[in-house]
Symmetry: C2
């Protein structure tokens, strides 16, 4: 099917011709006709093909004008591929160690060619379900988040550059609206898309829809999501958007990117770690009670935040005389005032992250899109117990986040709900 705007949805067969006709892709394969194609898209939205020849490999990702897991009944602009490619390139420049290289982008075709993250790379979420420790994960994620967020914020950019970026990414409005709906709205009202482990969580889901204090908090986070252009955020930084090995961490799938609040990315990652934590009891067996692994998740949670904190402040200090227009060196010109503003900045960011993290947890339990961490627990009663703990923790944190002054207090609160 070809359309007037030059778009054709490819399949395993037509992709062969596309690659052969595209030097920037064909050359990666050593210009060899002898290549294999396999569609592996397990995500919700797009088609992903792995292409391997004896001489090289790559991944092709194509966006179709609808949401894959729902079908043509939920249309979604394929222009999202443009924002994904643009962000992969920009974040890749800022943090090449943790973002796959983009080889090719075809806007008309909504098609990205990028590095194939070869085995043993797997999706982090699957590793967390399997109980695999990744000793460098916190260091790498802190590196990725601190660099991409710091350098695309007004701490480093000029107002001119910032507003140019904001204007461009306003174009990714359909994806922002999808987030507004599935994260900030649907879980708090009756919606045909919502689902939960029923009947176990029927009362819990209803409670979310009738909790005025929760609705007050989620409204403020939604406004911040819609209004606050703090940095070029990934926009979908859950543990399914990270591929890992023991020594590599790669962030993929930034199709939801736009200039939004930093806490939305940090919270997505931390919140999904906490979901993984609460799912562990459902994965426990006689051979492996997962106790040690739960400890490792909490260490990773703490380290991710505290390494992020340190790296972010280090970037700020290094670039205090740089082009960023937020804190001019002639005003923030003594160590006291710099420490004062940095402490306040990080404190606010911490609270934003806890808020957005909680919102992301809630929506994965009573909203449309669930996570494999829980879905893979086949015993519904056991699953509901895990989900309820996560939900109760998230509700508590969303309402009380401003009272938390350190990540250790958050971990203490997790222990309390878990015991």
């Amino acid at each position: 099917m070809s359309t007037v705007d030059g778009f054709r949805a490819l399949d395993d067969k037509s992709l062969v011709d596309y690659i052969k006709a595209t030097p920037s892709l064909f050359s990666i394969l050593g210009a060899s006709d002898n290549f294999q194609i396999k569609e592996v898209g397990d995500g919700n939205l797009n088609f992903v093909y792995i292409v391997v020849s004896p001489y090289g490999s790559l991944v092709i990702k194509q966006a179709l004008p609808y949401i894959r897991c729902i079908g043509e009944s939920w249309p979604m602009t394929k222009e999202r591929a443009y924002f994904e490619a643009t962000t992969l390139k920009q974040h890749g420049r800022l943090c090449p160690a943790h973002v796959p290289e983009v080889y090719h982008f075809d806007r008309a075709m909504s098609l990205i060619g990028m590095r194939y993250l070869e085995p043993p790379h797997i999706i982090l979420r699957k590793g967390l379900i399997a109980g695999v420790e990744y000793p460098l994960l916190s260091e790498h994620m802190a590196e990725y988040m601190s660099k991409t967020l710091f350098y695309t914020s007004l701490l480093y950019t000029t107002t001119t550059e910032h507003k140019r970026g904001v204007a461009e990414f306003c174009g990714n409005v359909e994806l922002c609206q999808l987030t507004e709906q599935v994260v900030f709205s649907d879980p708090y009202k009756v919606s045909e898309y919502n689902r939960w482990t029923s009947p176990h969580l029927d009362y819990d889901a209803e409670s979310v829809r009738e909790d005025n204090d929760l609705k007050l908090e989620i409204a403020q986070l939604k406004s911040m999501f819609c209004e606050r252009a703090q940095a070029l955020i990934h926009g979908d930084l859950h543990t399914g958007s990270v591929m890992v090995t023991q020594d590599s961490t790669q962030v993929i799938d930034p199709e939801f990117a736009f200039y939004g609040p930093m806490g939305f990315d940090i919270g997505a990652f931390l919140g999904n770690l906490i979901l993984a934590f609460f799912a562990q009891d459902g994965h426990a067996t006689q051979e492996n009670d997962r106790k040690a692994y739960k400890k490792w998740i909490l260490v990773t949670l703490r380290e991710t935040w505290s390494l992020f904190y340190n790296k972010f402040i280090a970037l700020w200090d290094e670039n205090k005389d740089g082009p960023g227009e937020a804190y001019l060196p002639h005003i923030y010109n003594n160590p006291d005032v710099r420490q004062l503003v940095q402490t306040k900045y990080i404190q606010d960011l911490f609270h934003d992250s806890l808020g957005f993290g909680s919102a992301k947890m809630i929506r994965r339990i009573v909203g449309v899109a669930h996570v494999e961490d829980f879905e893979s627990i086949t015993d519904a009663g056991k699953r509901a117990d895990c989900e309820r703990k996560a939900l109760n923790f998230a509700k508590m944190l969303l309402k009380n986040r401003r009272k938390f002054v350190s990540i250790d207090e958050v971990i203490l609160a997790i222990h309390e709900i878990d015991s």
Copy 2:
């Protein structure tokens, strides 16, 4: 002087030919050759011509590619006229009673033709200096601010419309940068542009530059100004941007418009009323001690905020089932939760307004652009006394704004500093 982009700076003479060649303007004058032109620009940036024939009248405003009061050494995009015309039209649609009609806009010429606000219309600031009461001022300004801010925020617009507006007004970046510099930066550092009543306020100006707590607060307001696209704000809503008679209130000069925090507009207006209040002692004479007038200013201050509050909430209630995406009716579906979110929204807006209002006051005393309220006090010692009170009040309010829960408390604090 004509340039390749079709721009020519007009003067009294060339403007005649321009008007004759422009039917949308010439017709307003009854197509009569017999018209008079007078340049009256008393503002800082642009050229303003009053054009009167026996059959009609209009005003022509032209932006030149620099700042008028400084000269060609401070270049400034003439595209600001485009954002001014666009905002006059949009705010004019939302609140026609308080915005002059736009007859004509020529983007290449950066030229706006609009309604002439005929005498006895005068600039509000001049009326405040003269001690004239305007009984409808608070009602009218509350009407203007509530309508323009409510209808251009996500309380009324869709995300799609909102992001389209945000993207477009990102183009007004040079004017935003000017505000960032003169409001949020220069007063807090040594700058060649800063001035103050010297030597009287030398110590006060230095204190502003060395007050770490003040720098912490101004940083947060600057970030909000740069990052938060809450509504299409006027951007320069001081008492010099309002023309009044006893029964008419007209808001002009929105060339600084962009999607920013609502509190920046509300604060600009309230802050400039407070400046007018503290200037009154400098205008007192034996015949008129200005005591009654000072009371009227404070009543106007209180009424403006409380009428704004009421009107804004009334618009929200009326439009609760409207297109706005911030508070969906299916979530905010009971009177309790609606009151909860409205109270919080207004409380935050109140604190933002107090913060921005304070920042606007401070910059008028120790920054580049001063206000006639103080400048017209010829006795430097007297002027400094008035300015110091205003400055001390603004510093206190900027630091403690979150402790104020009502406008009456603000007025009490004004009394305390004034006594």
